[in-house]
């Protein structure tokens, strides 16, 4: 029998429907793969084998009766940021020690409604703050990819590093992830997987541990564009429990995948050509332009003049919102609690002990920019700049551009414990330079693997779309995937 874990989600779904194998067999294959590989990759922080087997059995009964939802019997990994009832949910933080929610997030509820099976909870940067998955309390995730002729360990990107690594190394058919500044698209690009951040409001934030509420969006990481589209159709939908959820019909995203790009206008923003950008990234970008042109798209140079201010504005807005959201972790209601001589002492010691360095750094920055006397200079100024960033995109889209093509990241995967990035937090932040504008403007963005660098590591391209026009991103993303025609399977060493 072929290795079931190597099937795409779409192929696994077809195989289950045709009764070529059962969900119990498929789920069992994934659980064995996790057992064999997770100690080396560190992608899962909790494996829910019993629950997975029970769900698979229930799915098999439905499939045998010719019933079942769009994801019936498909084994998924769930980022540790999603609340899953009675199951490990700690945002990969020490401060949420032993937290097991009494409720289920709306996005995961949608997945179980559609028949999916949960394999476990995936590692991530603590509270989704990071671009390398090194800030996790559970230690870094290791990228399944290695450079040619090297066994040096590389980061999978972050914050959804566990999701990207698990999908890439065949430890789940697809995974949920979240994106506040690039946390779906950057790890997808660094692992040769497909990741899409939907339009803000498309997926419910209810039951997703909050980082920066005006930027956070859930989305899938998968092995193909079609798989990502299937996942997103199930994850999306209006939810009255999230006040920013948008009441809009969810299209069948998979139906848009083979639509092509004929007649579309693709914008190429000149501001994304950064100083010191590696020649390989520039070449990949030009290749992407050529592929889209060859399939009938018109390519147009555009300008998004406020691009360079997106990252600094993000590092005011996101920490400000985080400092407010993370105030709830106080040692009283849930999670870790240190002993203090009075209530303030208890708060201060618990939070000093429970949060990691990057999280504390961001809470401190957020508290500072919101404090009396600095609010206008920092926070209000950043929110005004955000208005201008969004306006840049509106002008371009109103001018007839259907989607925008950019590189996904400034480099391929880098080493664990990179000394430069350790010494200067801003260096790590620059990983998100191409992705963060999309969160600031609330737009959808997809990262699709498109090539490899000189060392054989995957590189991705990003497509940015109009609000709620994810369908065009799937169509154009598929053209890039098909034109590249590269098998993005890492050589198995784990």
């Amino acid at each position: 029998m072929t290795d079931l874990t190597r099937l795409t989600l779409a192929a696994a779904r077809a195989g289950l429907k045709a009764r070529e194998f059962t969900s119990s067999e498929l789920t069992g294959a994934y659980l064995s793969a996790i057992e064999g590989g997770n100690a080396k990759l560190n992608a899962y922080v909790a494996v829910t084998a019993e629950q997975a087997s029970a769900q698979a059995k229930a799915s098999d009964a439905k499939l045998a009766a010719g019933q079942g939802g769009p994801l019936e019997g498909i084994p998924l990994g769930i980022k540790d940021l999603f609340a899953t009832k009675g199951v490990h949910t700690q945002a990969a933080s020490h401060i949420l020690d032993s937290f097991k929610p009494e409720y289920e997030s709306s996005v995961t509820s949608n997945l179980w409604r559609d028949g999916a099976v949960m394999l476990g909870k995936l590692n991530m940067d603590e509270f989704a703050m990071g671009s390398s998955n090194e800030t996790s309390y559970y230690g870094p995730v290791i990228n399944p990819w290695r450079a040619n002729n090297s066994n040096a360990q590389l980061v999978p990107g972050g914050s959804s590093g566990g999701s990207a690594a698990a999908v890439s190394s065949w430890l789940c058919a697809a995974a949920t992830a979240t994106d506040t500044g690039g946390s779906i698209r950057q790890p997808a690009a660094l692992t040769g997987t497909v990741g899409i951040k939907p339009t803000y409001g498309r997926c419910s934030r209810w039951g997703v541990v909050a980082f920066a509420s005006s930027l956070d969006q859930a989305g899938p990481i998968a092995r193909t564009v079609e798989d990502a589209a299937i996942m997103m159709t199930s994850m999306s939908g209006f939810d009255p429990k999230d006040s920013t959820s948008v009441d809009l019909a969810v299209p069948d995203f998979a139906a848009a995948v083979e639509r092509g790009v004929k007649g579309l206008v693709i914008g190429i923003p000149r501001e994304y050509r950064m100083d010191g950008m590696p020649a390989e990234i520039e070449a990949l970008w030009q290749q992407g332009i050529a592929w889209l042109k060859a399939e009938g798209a018109t390519v147009r140079d555009i300008s998004l003049p406020h691009t360079k201010y997106a990252l600094p504005a993000y590092y005011i807005v996101a920490p400000a919102e985080a400092s407010s959201n993370l105030a709830r972790y106080d040692g009283v209601k849930y999670g870790l609690r240190d002993t203090g001589k009075d209530i303030t002492d208890l708060y201060e010691l618990t939070r000093a002990d429970g949060f990691g360095r990057e999280v504390k750094r961001r809470i401190m920055i957020g508290t500072y920019v919101l404090s009396a006397g600095y609010y206008d200079a920092y926070y209000v100024q950043a929110q005004k700049v955000r208005t201008l960033i969004k306006r840049d995109f509106e002008i371009v889209f109103n001018d007839g551009v259907d989607a925008i093509l950019t590189p996904a990241t400034p480099s391929a995967a880098f080493g664990i414990g990179d000394e430069d990035m350790k010494a200067d937090p801003v260096k790590m932040y620059l990983n998100d330079v191409f992705t963060v504008t999309v969160n600031m403007a609330g737009l959808p963005g997809i990262a699709v693997p498109a090539g490899k660098d000189g060392a054989g590591l995957p590189l991705g391209l990003q497509l940015i779309g109009k609000p709620f026009d994810e369908e065009t991103l799937f169509a154009a993303g598929r053209v890039i995937e098909r034109s590249a025609g590269i098998d993005f399977s890492p050589d198995k060493w784990w």
């Binding site: 009255p240 209601k333 849930y334 009075d342 401190m364 700049v385 201008l388």
Partner: protein, 95 residues
């Protein structure tokens, strides 16, 4: 604008995060690096620009002001480190 040691301690108190004496200098350096990076926002002309309040054009949904959920205190306190009779327990606050 740059922060000094006293400001680092003040921010730590506001954020309810204990900053040990030996950590102050590291925090001061890191915060100043980040604040130095965001300083460039000052060069943007924002005259007449409204600060963003909602990234998607939407009005906040409202509902009738009535109780629609609740009545399960044992679930609310289920994850608390210390409870008694479905109350959260904290060190004495009022003498």
């Amino acid at each position: 604008m740059s922060v000094d040691a006293a400001t680092v301690k003040r921010i730590g108190r506001l954020a309810r995060i204990r900053i040990e004496e030996g950590e102050v200098e590291t925090y001061r350096n890191e915060l100043n690096t980040i604040l130095g990076f965001v300083e460039q926002l000052g060069e943007v002309d924002v005259s007449g620009v409204e600060p963003m309040t909602s990234v998607m054009p939407m009005t906040l949904r409202r509902r009738e002001d009535k109780v629609t959920d609740g009545g399960y205190p044992e679930k609310i306190v289920a994850n608390a480190p210390l409870t008694e009779d479905n109350f959260f327990m904290v060190p004495k606050v009022v003498e």
